[in-house]
């Protein structure tokens, strides 16, 4: 009784009981086997579907995180959970016996605000609680709540920020025109952001996750617009003669890299977003396109065909010193700089196919991330520096996939029958 009282005091809304983080040391090599049974539906709880729905979303999020492997023995998991609920105990030995290294115990009950969810995670080695937190959420928002719980568990267990609450912007031709959409990191909840009757391309997030910059032909010419994801209308930011494309907002939000051909050739420029003033960064006979920022904002990477074929280049902004990064392969495009700063992911043509590779920002050997007979392009890092989202075209159909660069098992996240391309992963939103 005393213990329960202490626990319930600790379980006040929004505070985490567990600051004990069990760091998964071999985090890239081995996933923690975790049991995620249906949440216990307490008296007056909204509905059984809600309780099992939260657990299902949580399980999927934990699996996509790369750190956990939820137990597939659904029947055993639910039976063990039923035993626990009936007896009011957590049978650690039983969970361990069915193969779980950790077990998630959740419960739902009704509250004034909608639903109260309590969630605890136990380690089956020793049986201690490694995470406990209570949440309140409106009934309509339980998917988002599950994403939050997943990220909280991942942080408590691994010390790494999760990606379950992040968003992915992309281009889809659902309406017959390519338009900008945003979805959850797992492909759910897709909704249209741009409202054009023209072509929209290359979305890229502002660092605060509030806005997107993209190219639109709404005035019958390629120009750059910035639009709030939450709604409102798109505001033109670059409408020079010729090409205005591939905008990339700086990590501090103050400026934007872009490719413009107003001076007679596609070159990289930097625009001060407050004043609109421009600084030209490249001056070559080739075309320059697809710029991106290093996370400290001091360097940029971009594509240039100054050597005769498209290759990745890195420029130090202070001295404008530029070096070519890629030498393997005759067609290397679409760079994106890891939020941890240590890697650049890009797409490389090898034979007929395009695969993703990563390379250090100072060059050296590249590592292949994707393979197989597909055209993999437009990679974009998740804020965890571990996952990459990209478009993969197979038999002329394009879908969005995510891949853990260490495990290298692509997961398709778009399941509809129209083409989805050019994904961009938001920064951490929580």
């Amino acid at each position: 009784m005393t213990a329960l009282a202490v626990l319930s005091t600790l379980l006040t809304a929004g505070t985490s009981l567990s600051q004990i983080s069990v760091t998964v040391s071999k985090k890239y090599a081995q996933r923690t086997r975790i049991a995620v049974p249906s949440f216990h539906q307490k008296a007056g709880a909204p509905s059984a579907e809600l309780s099992s729905g939260i657990a299902a979303q949580l399980s999927s999020d934990l699996e996509l995180s790369g750190y956990f492997s939820p137990l597939k023995k659904k029947k055993f998991v639910e039976e063990t959970q039923a035993d626990d609920v009936r007896t009011g105990k957590v049978h650690i030995a039983e969970w361990r016996r069915i193969g779980a290294e950790m077990v998630v115990k959740g419960s739902t009950s009704s509250s004034l605000a909608g639903v109260t969810v309590e969630c605890r995670v136990y380690s089956t080695a020793g049986g201690r609680s490694v995470f406990a937190k209570r949440y309140n959420a409106p009934k309509s928002d339980l998917r988002r709540l599950a994403h939050r719980i997943a990220d909280d568990i991942i942080y408590a267990v691994t010390g790494e920020k999760g990606i379950a609450s992040t968003k992915i912007a992309f281009v889809a031709n659902r309406s017959g025109n390519k338009q900008i959409y945003v979805m959850d990191f797992d492909g759910s909840n897709a909704r249209q952001v741009s409202k054009d009757k023209s072509i929209c391309l290359s979305p890229d997030w502002s660092p605060d996750g509030q806005k997107l910059v993209f190219t639109s032909y709404r005035r019958s010419r390629p120009e750059l617009y910035i639009q709030h994801v939450a709604g409102g209308s798109a505001k033109g930011v670059a409408f020079y003669p010729g090409l205005n494309a591939t905008g990339a907002i700086s990590p501090d939000g103050g400026s934007m890299l872009l490719s413009l051909s107003k001076d007679g050739n596609p070159e990289i420029y930097r625009m001060n977003l407050a004043t609109g003033s421009l600084r030209r960064l490249t001056r070559t006979r080739g075309a320059e396109i697809s710029p991106c920022w290093s996370p400290d904002g001091r360097r940029i990477a971009f594509v240039s065909d100054r050597s005769g074929s498209p290759q990745i280049y890195v420029m130090d902004l202070a001295g404008k010193k530029t070096r070519r990064l890629t030498y393997e392969g005759g067609y290397n495009v679409s760079p994106d700089w890891s939020p941890k700063g240590d890697k650049i992911v890009y797409s490389s043509r090898r034979g007929r196919d395009f695969d993703l590779y990563v390379i250090g920002p100072d060059g050296g050997a590249s590592t292949q991330v994707t393979s197989g007979s597909s055209i993999d392009d437009n990679p974009s890092w998740a804020p965890d520096g571990r996952h990459v989202v990209y478009e993969s075209t197979r038999k002329y159909k394009s879908d969005i996939y995510i891949v853990d660069i260490y495990e290298r098992v692509p997961v398709r996240i778009t399941k509809w029958n129209f083409n989805s391309t050019s994904p961009s992963w938001s920064s951490s939103l929580n």
């Binding site: 010729g242 591939t246 051909s261 007679g264 075309a287």
Partner: protein
């Protein structure tokens, strides 16, 4: 009558001079891939502001249609092929004798490769065409450019023939 004769003479003279003028930029350089040929260089001809009201449409006039044929490009290459120069010379001659006509060159790519890089490649194709026409005496302000990258194929097939059709410079005209 004398004025008309004078005007015809002036037009003839302009056409003759333009016809003799050697293109300076790109066109005379052997094509050896992007970055070495084509009109769009680092120091290209700056583009003119396009009035907001200016909307280009497909060419419908039969005489113009016969002259303003699509020109085609090699894979991953923005430079003007020898085989396409005749078309551009006819177009330049026509524009030089119709100096009030404003056109737009659309640069297009086939579906292969990166759609972002193809935006740049399509732009360079359009700029190559513009540079070639300017070198033949056409006013830079009379030729606007636009890149559609790989976004507007004329042939939605996935073979060499479709790709050839799609790697094109296409001409549009502003209504007078």
């Amino acid at each position: 009558m004398r004025n008309v004769v004078a005007a015809v003479l002036v037009v003839l003279l302009v056409v003759t001079v333009a016809g003799c003028k050697k293109p300076r930029r790109g066109a005379t350089i052997p094509s050896s891939g992007p970055g070495t040929a084509g009109g769009g260089w680092g120091e290209g001809i700056p583009l003119s502001e396009m009035p907001d009201s200016m909307i280009f449409g497909e060419i419908t006039d039969p005489e113009m249609k016969a002259i303003f044929e699509d020109i085609h490009f090699d894979y991953d290459d923005p430079s003007i092929k020898d085989s396409e120069r005749g078309i551009l010379e006819n177009i330049a001659a026509w524009l030089n004798s119709n100096p009030a006509v404003v056109i737009q060159v659309e640069g297009h790519c086939d579906e292969r490769g990166s759609n972002e890089y193809n935006l740049a490649l399509g732009d360079r194709r359009a700029l190559s065409v513009r540079g070639y026409l300017v070198d033949l005496g056409v006013g830079p302000d009379m030729v606007y450019t636009i890149s559609y990258g790989e976004e507007r194929p004329v042939d939605t097939g996935h073979d060499e023939s479709a790709w050839w059709q799609n790697r094109r410079g296409h001409f549009m005209v502003a209504p007078e």
